[in-house]
Subunit: 281 residues, 2 copies
């Protein structure tokens, strides 16, 4: 059977992956969830038709959304993770002995259940004793929190469907309030390349910048995401992501396949066209 999964990256560009075999397809209360095995990328998770992760390159996304803030403030203890039902962010966070508490808020319990069963590569540390999982709306959860976290990681889906609320000004304002004095918020920030993604990116940046005194953007090569050029936002109440990088991160001896402290500095140097999009946001 010649089976291909196809994702439209814009109306006029699409990316296709040859499927070895479908693993499971379900409809949750919130979205359609598909898992399949592929020849090139290993197991793949798809939500509402959008590729979320592949076993081949999920390490890039998860390392870049986690180690960038952790290397800026090694004293981070209390972390809130929003979304991230696959467990990849939690896996990276649990590498730090210094982290004392990880609250993970995922709206869709079925995503977590499926990842626990079919994606052990990412879900492997969800049972760590420091992890508390809440199955509820991230926006409502964070609304109740004040001065409680050192780091919030927003690992949302795209800004439509269940992830939509996680791109609003209200949400970012609540994150600010939920963070302690030296708090950092990192979020997946879409891509600058295709017009619709770029618009989402500009909107998110404008909103974050209106709330946080420090709001920078960094990039990574994620080949299975639209255009392969993916952005993350680094917002904080004071820490600068490059000036405050602690080189002693290297003495922790953590094993990473994408992240390193040189790349940490490098990934904040953006192409002119991306800088212009952000300045005109």
């Amino acid at each position: 059977m010649d089976l291909w999964f196809t994702e439209y990256h814009s109306n006029y560009a699409r990316f296709s992956i040859k499927v070895d075999k479908p693993v499971i397809s379900l409809e949750s209360e919130f979205q359609r969830i598909d898992v399949f095995d592929s020849y090139e990328f290993g197991r793949v998770l798809v939500l509402d038709g959008c590729l979320m992760l592949t076993e081949k390159d999920e390490f890039i996304y998860h390392e870049m959304i986690t180690h960038i803030p952790m290397a800026v403030n090694p004293e981070i203890q209390d972390v809130l993770v929003i979304g991230a039902g696959d467990g990849g962010v939690v896996r990276e966070l649990t590498k730090y002995d210094s982290v004392k508490r990880i609250d993970m808020v995922e709206i869709d319990k079925l995503v977590v259940d499926i990842c626990r069963e079919y994606l052990p590569q990412t879900s492997c540390r969800l049972d760590d004793s420091r992890v508390n999982i809440y199955f509820e709306d991230g926006l409502k959860f964070v609304r109740r929190k004040n001065n409680e976290y050192d780091l919030i990681i927003v690992d949302s889906t795209d800004p439509f469907g269940p992830g939509e609320d996680l791109f609003t000004r209200e949400f970012y304002g609540n994150c600010y309030k939920a963070l302690k004095q030296w708090g950092i918020m990192v979020n997946q920030h879409e891509s600058p390349y295709y017009p619709n993604d770029a618009l989402s990116m500009q909107r998110a940046h404008k909103r974050i910048k209106s709330i946080f005194p420090v709001a920078e953007v960094y990039q990574a090569h994620i080949p299975t995401y639209p255009s392969g050029h993916w952005l993350f936002g680094f917002a904080s109440k004071g820490f600068h992501p490059v000036a405050d990088l602690k080189e002693n991160w290297n003495s922790l001896g953590l094993k990473t396949r994408y992240y390193n402290t040189e790349l940490h500095r490098g990934c904040f140097a953006l192409p002119n066209y991306v800088k212009e999009l952000l300045e005109n946001a």
Copy 2:
């Protein structure tokens, strides 16, 4: 008519672009040449089924292969460009008043003729008085040259078909010989992501490193190339691409949409998995 151009990035992954209308398709002595108009990427050039450039993002490739060496040595006067029949590299080079001579060696005259007619965006400066075009084999051309160029830019196709010779140890050795005392060679260096490309990249790096005292690799986001994660090689007889970057490049006032000197420093910071591939080359 629902017409799509599809390129296989590996046996198990493919990228497709919706075609507005085909422009021209020809068979030269060396390869098949196709030009079409697309909705998302403007006009597109395809050689032997491989996407070479799109009007939307060719600036990324051409700026990164040209301005990186030019910003390291602003005294570059004599430049050899191998391949590059579309004229994009020449367009970037002619922005520098300091460049006195550009020898361009393209094996396939038909590529140049077609780009002159159908891709003015890249071919627009091929008639600059400093440009000499030679329609011959790049390997044979460079074999005859000694101590003649400050910079060689190898803008080859992939290492099979007409571009194959431009990835050999003999070719790199001849480039070394053709360069003056402070010479720099930059080449398109394939991608680290899909196994076949990664193998080509490793082979090229190993060969270049065996000949040039300085051999570094840098990266760029080129969304329409396989994986979007593209590499370039910077080899030289002495200049280091980051330590010797001249910040006064900015005083030239050149307009670029991707390149800037911060990004210049940043693009040499490679992910761990790419560094490992290069170290084990």
